[in-house]
């Protein structure tokens, strides 16, 4: 372990929030595309919601990333090496690979977004319509599959990015943060779809049940990963074991964000059509916990 490393001074409202929002977008998209790929007509509302949410969310992320740069106007250097203007990728750098993945995922989710707009008769622009026609020569399921694949990337690479540094907390929790973020992305993705269903007054039924089942698996998996992570980190886990970050992590992410929803999920075994379906309350708590997960891991890794 290195006694002296420096923190990158990433602001929580840029980088940690990017990890969070990117994760939700990718998680939701994955669920939506899986449902479409499985051909589950009954659950198609899930797909529709997912494709509506994923792209707008991922549109926020470049703004956050670019704002955190020391030289924002140079963001395009991530794609082209300035000295010879050829496309550039650095396979040893999760940041480089992840940026390309984000680009591709954004493209795919854009196409899916256009598709649902068209399906709802909302796409007016002729330019976009003809663009979509061009792309639709290839079946949408292909884009959905590609999008899912790169979605996973977007969800998980951010954790790999943290682990591939020398900061004690991040080095010591290697190789688990990427896994943790993927699971959390899936969980928060499902949660946001559930809340969207509620807005459409769908407060029970198979869709919610499936989402809730998926989320339960995800949360248990998440809990196990967290415990494993803290164990392997040993003394270097201390930034998230004490102080404000400790409180945010164990009180926020774990207690409020995982344990409470699990308990709510358990009590939702009794069928209900109540608008106060505990699953839906649980979804809010999951979203809250997911935010704190990113914030604590990214920021606590930066305290001196």
């Amino acid at each position: 372990m290195s006694p002296e490393t420096q923190a990158p001074h990433w602001e929580w409202y840029y980088i940690a929030m990017y990890f969070y929002i990117g994760g939700i977008s990718a998680g939701a998209y994955f669920i939506g595309s899986l449902v479409e790929l499985l051909g589950r007509e009954k659950l198609r509302e899930i797909s529709r919601i997912a494709y509506y949410i994923a792209f707008p969310l991922i549109c926020i992320t470049p703004i956050l990333l670019i704002a955190d740069l020391g030289q924002p106007a140079r963001f395009w250097h991530l794609f082209f090496y300035t000295k010879d203007i050829t496309p550039y990728i650095n396979h040893q750098s999760p940041l480089s690979v992840g940026t390309w993945a984000l680009l591709i995922y954004s493209g795919m989710s854009f196409l899916s977004f256009l598709n649902v707009l068209v399906a709802d008769g909302r796409l007016k622009s002729p330019a976009l319509r003809s663009l979509l026609k061009l792309f639709n020569r290839i079946p949408h399921k292909v884009y959905a599959a590609i999008g899912s694949f790169f979605g996973f990337f977007v969800a998980g690479y951010t954790g790999v990015l943290l682990n591939t540094t020398a900061r004690p907390l991040w080095e010591a929790t290697d190789p688990l943060i990427g896994s943790l973020f993927i699971v959390s992305a899936a969980s928060t993705g499902a949660a946001v779809i559930a809340r969207a269903l509620k807005r459409q007054n769908i407060v029970s039924g198979e869709m919610l049940e499936r989402l809730e089942l998926f989320d339960r698996v995800a949360m248990i998996f998440e809990l196990l990963l967290i415990i494993m992570m803290v164990i392997i980190a040993g003394q270097y886990a201390s930034p998230i074991l004490r102080g404000w970050y400790g409180l945010m992590f164990w009180g926020g992410t774990v207690a409020v964000g995982i344990l409470a929803p699990l308990w709510l999920n358990w009590s939702a075994r009794r069928p209900t059509t109540s608008v106060n379906n505990p699953v839906l309350l649980g979804a809010v708590l999951i979203l809250f916990g997911g935010a704190l997960l990113r914030i604590t891991l990214v920021q606590a890794g930066q305290i001196p």
């Binding site: 002296e4 420096q6 020391g70 591939t164 896994s179 998926f214 069928p271």
Partner: protein, 272 residues
């Protein structure tokens, strides 16, 4: 042929000429964090007294590219009395965490083996900063980019040596071909060991793919604030990527199970 520096801490007098020569050649300002405004004065006043021996620099930064460490080893009755000095800087690792991490190819290795930040390419993403096991490379709010020792890139490409080596009054810092410097270092280590300094060791032959700026220490590297066996972060990339992919697969399976077509539902409804 790779160029580098050999820092023989056994003949360092802690004079800090290296710190000042570096600032002078590279036209670096005083470290902004070390000064503050005082009313009625047209100049800022230095406030960085640390009480840590004679070291008020504290750490490397975007404007401090050299940092002399002071290590006092005294027991209560002073029968053990040692004061070690070591001038820390970028090690120009042959497997450089910062270079490996850079997503825009701002950090490159020149034909002389030194690791150099191209100021016109850097976007200030700051990912290289936590990727350095030595905590060297640092961000400047003023320029929006990262900075570190360049091994006097302009000087060495014009037949000169590094500014710090030139200023060093005792020759503790010497610049040259790395292979030649290693011979000198080995000879010096042998000489010290023969004189009874058994703890003396060379740091940098195997660390981080070998360091082009390497050291002769009189005690364990940890005494000098250096990691004993650093792992360049990217060497762990494969494992964490693999585990993450496995997790993704597991989540995909979980999703398949959660969203698949089912035969019966719990409340007895039969699905078509």
């Amino acid at each position: 042929m790779a160029k580098g520096m050999f820092v023989d801490t056994s003949i360092c007098t802690g004079c800090k000429a290296c710190q000042v020569a570096c600032k002078e050649w590279n036209e670096l300002p005083g470290e902004p964090a070390h000064f503050h405004k005082v009313p009625d004065r047209p100049y800022q006043v230095a406030i960085n007294f640390t009480g840590n021996s004679y070291d008020n620099t504290g750490q490397l930064s975007a404007t401090d590219w050299r940092h002399v460490r002071f290590i006092e080893q005294f027991n209560e009755n002073r029968t053990e009395a040692r004061w070690y000095f070591s001038s820390d800087s970028c090690k120009h690792c042959n497997d450089a965490g910062c270079l490996n991490a850079c997503p825009v190819k701002a950090i490159v290795r020149t034909d002389m083996g030194n690791v150099f930040v191209q100021q016109d390419v850097c976007i200030g993403c700051k990912y290289c900063i936590p990727s350095c096991p030595y905590g060297v490379i640092s961000f400047s709010e003023q320029s929006g980019t990262v900075h570190k020792c360049t091994l006097c890139n302009d000087r060495i490409h014009n037949g000169l040596g590094t500014a710090c080596a030139k200023a060093c009054p005792t020759g503790s810092i010497s610049f040259g071909e790395v292979e030649e410097l290693k011979k000198r270092a080995d000879a010096r280590l042998a000489q010290l060991k023969m004189r009874g300094f058994t703890k003396a060791n060379i740091y940098g032959y195997t660390e981080a793919g070998s360091l082009n700026v390497f050291y002769l220490f009189m005690d364990e590297p940890s005494v000098y604030g250096q990691p004993e066996h650093p792992v360049v972060p990217q060497r762990r990339l494969f494992r964490s990527a693999a585990i993450t992919v496995l997790t993704a697969v597991a989540m995909a399976v979980a999703a398949l199970i959660s969203f698949r077509e089912q035969g019966t539902k719990k409340n007895g409804e039969v699905k078509p």
